[in-house]
């Protein structure tokens, strides 16, 4: 048993899951915005990075990681709301290229602002849990307390989002506003408010993801720290289906595991190529996403 748990393949699976939940969270934050506003938020990673910088600004005076996490989430909520109200609201109903250009532009602005304020050098952040792998019979298992913390946090975030959407009045309004905005208005739903809330939630999920990424001392926090993670999260969202939160979860984890095997057995330089290849194939075979029903009926 112990030799199985410490085997190379199991290690790849465990490492893949750890990376995959991060991709899943990024994908989920993209799906939340896409479902409600039909906008691909290319600035998602940069917004999360800014929220994390704000969170870590309070780290020095408080020296409390968890206070930083809460502040980052609050900053994410605020930034998401402001972005929807100030930038995105004017883009609804405009040609599809307009939001793409606006969000890519916003990404560049945020990264430049972060570099100007906090510099481009990496900031190592205190990890709340050890990153040293557990041992089994003096052999390392590819799972550390920090990796478990990442997985548990992702599971909690996804569960909270799922419960919110499925079992609360607010969730019902959020889903209705996304699926049928005009009908929702006729039923008294304040659709504009729901869209803002959707962006706030998405941005908060992004902030939690960025805190997890930045807490890892292998990456740390830089103005571009989320670019790579965003790229894999975006690929996971596109493969899973931009309309499918479950697709975001499953394709993120699957992508993490597959890329881990690619890096281990082929070459780490092949990871991005394989990821892009998977994206191209999935777009050719299932353009609406592997986990999206092919013909969703809207009445």
């Amino acid at each position: 048993m112990s030799s199985f748990l410490t085997s190379r393949n199991v290690a790849d699976v465990l490492n893949g899951i750890t990376n995959g939940v991060i991709y899943s969270l990024v994908a989920l934050s993209l799906v939340l915005v896409w479902r409600s506003t039909r906008i691909l938020n290319f600035a998602q990673g940069a917004m999360a990075m800014i929220a994390t910088y704000v969170g870590f600004a309070v780290l020095a005076p408080t020296t409390n990681y968890w206070v930083s996490m809460v502040v980052a989430i609050l900053a994410g909520l605020l930034l998401g709301g402001l972005t929807e109200r100030v930038i995105v609201r004017g883009l609804y109903g405009k040609p599809e290229i307009n939001p793409v250009v606006a969000m890519v532009g916003f990404l560049l602005v945020l990264e430049s602002v972060a570099a100007a304020i906090w510099s481009t050098s990496s900031r190592g952040l205190p990890t709340p849990f050890s990153m040293v792998d557990w041992q089994l019979n003096h052999k390392p298992v590819a799972m550390s307390p920090f990796a478990l913390y990442e997985i548990v946090t992702a599971v909690i975030v996804m569960t909270v989002i799922a419960l919110l959407f499925q079992y609360t009045k607010l969730g019902l309004r959020l889903r209705a506003a996304a699926l049928a905005p005009e009908v929702s208005r006729l039923l008294g739903v304040r659709v504009g408010r729901m869209l803002t809330l959707g962006w706030m939630l998405s941005s908060a999920v992004g902030a939690i993801t960025a805190v997890l990424v930045a807490s890892n001392y292998f990456t740390g926090l830089t103005p571009t720290a989320m670019d790579g993670v965003f790229a894999f999260g975006f690929i996971a969202a596109a493969i899973g289906g931009l309309d499918s939160p479950v697709g975001a979860l499953l394709s993120g984890i699957s992508l993490g595991i597959i890329l881990q095997f690619v890096g281990d057995y082929l070459n780490s330089n092949a990871i991005i190529l394989v990821a892009l290849g998977m994206l191209v194939v999935s777009l050719m075979v299932r353009p609406n996403g592997v986990f999206t029903r092919s013909a969703q009926r809207r009445v």
């Binding site: 009045k169 889903r175 699926l179 208005r185 006729l186 008294g188 969703q296 809207r298 009445v299």
Partner: protein, 235 residues
């Protein structure tokens, strides 16, 4: 009472409504009739705030509705069942009703029970996705979802569209009963003039955005000229 006064609506250069005025009395069914493109749907969309008029006002009793947002107008008691029903296909029957009940003064359970009493088939299918319902059942769901909010006025846009004659007759009967038993005011837009005139107290006829008749339903139904030229009812 709903009062529409001097209502004009334009979509760019196209004038959809021209100086339309009429009243819909409390507890009565007022049929809005006319051919395609007469402006019937635009009239309802303007009353419920989805379309802003170029001129004119809509009032519910003493309250002016013009200029208010649709979500505020529905909170003041004007329910709107849009053309094509607007049922959210991805939601279950009960989720659709729960959404409608959010602005209701009634406890949710009581509201649901009342609607299942009016439309028993919805109770049987409460856990089913709305996408799986037949056209008639979807229409019932759309009506129940509007009614669960306890509106004083119900705007019904082409409820018979795409339905079999028997189903249409059942729906019209239900609307008539609802109106009689609850004092609901109904503005019923219909292309099927015969069905609508059977249950309406009053009827207004629109033609290319203009009001060409506003009278008691029996009078409109017996006016040969109106029937022939504006309603396409040729015997």
């Amino acid at each position: 009472m709903i009062s529409v006064t001097g209502l004009s609506v334009s979509y760019g250069a196209v004038q959809a409504l021209r100086d339309v005025s009429f009243g819909a009395a409390t507890g009565e069914i007022t049929a809005v009739l006319g051919a395609n493109g007469a402006g019937k749907t635009t009239l309802l969309r303007t009353i419920s705030g989805l379309v802003a008029p170029r001129a004119g006002t809509v009032a519910l009793d003493e309250t002016t509705l013009t200029g208010r947002r649709p979500e505020d107008i529905v909170r003041r008691g004007v329910g709107h069942v849009p053309e094509g029903r607007g049922v959210i296909a991805e939601f279950t029957v009960e989720e659709n009703l729960r959404l409608g009940a959010m602005i209701s003064p009634m406890p949710l359970r009581d509201g649901l029970d009342q609607q299942y009493q009016w439309f028993p088939v919805l109770g049987e299918r409460r856990k089913q996705a709305a996408a799986t319902l037949s056209g008639g059942e979807r229409q019932m769901l759309a009506m129940a979802r509007a009614l669960i909010a306890k509106p004083s006025v119900l705007l019904l846009d082409e409820p018979s569209l795409g339905l079999a004659p028997l189903v249409t007759a059942q729906l019209m009967h239900t609307v008539s009963e609802l109106c009689a038993s609850t004092g609901l005011t109904v503005i019923l837009v219909e292309q099927n003039a015969k069905s609508a005139l059977r249950i309406a107290s009053r009827a207004v006829v629109l033609y290319l955005g203009r009001l060409v008749a506003d009278d008691v339903a029996e009078v409109v139904a017996s006016d040969d000229q109106l029937r022939q030229y504006y309603l396409g009812m040729v015997e």
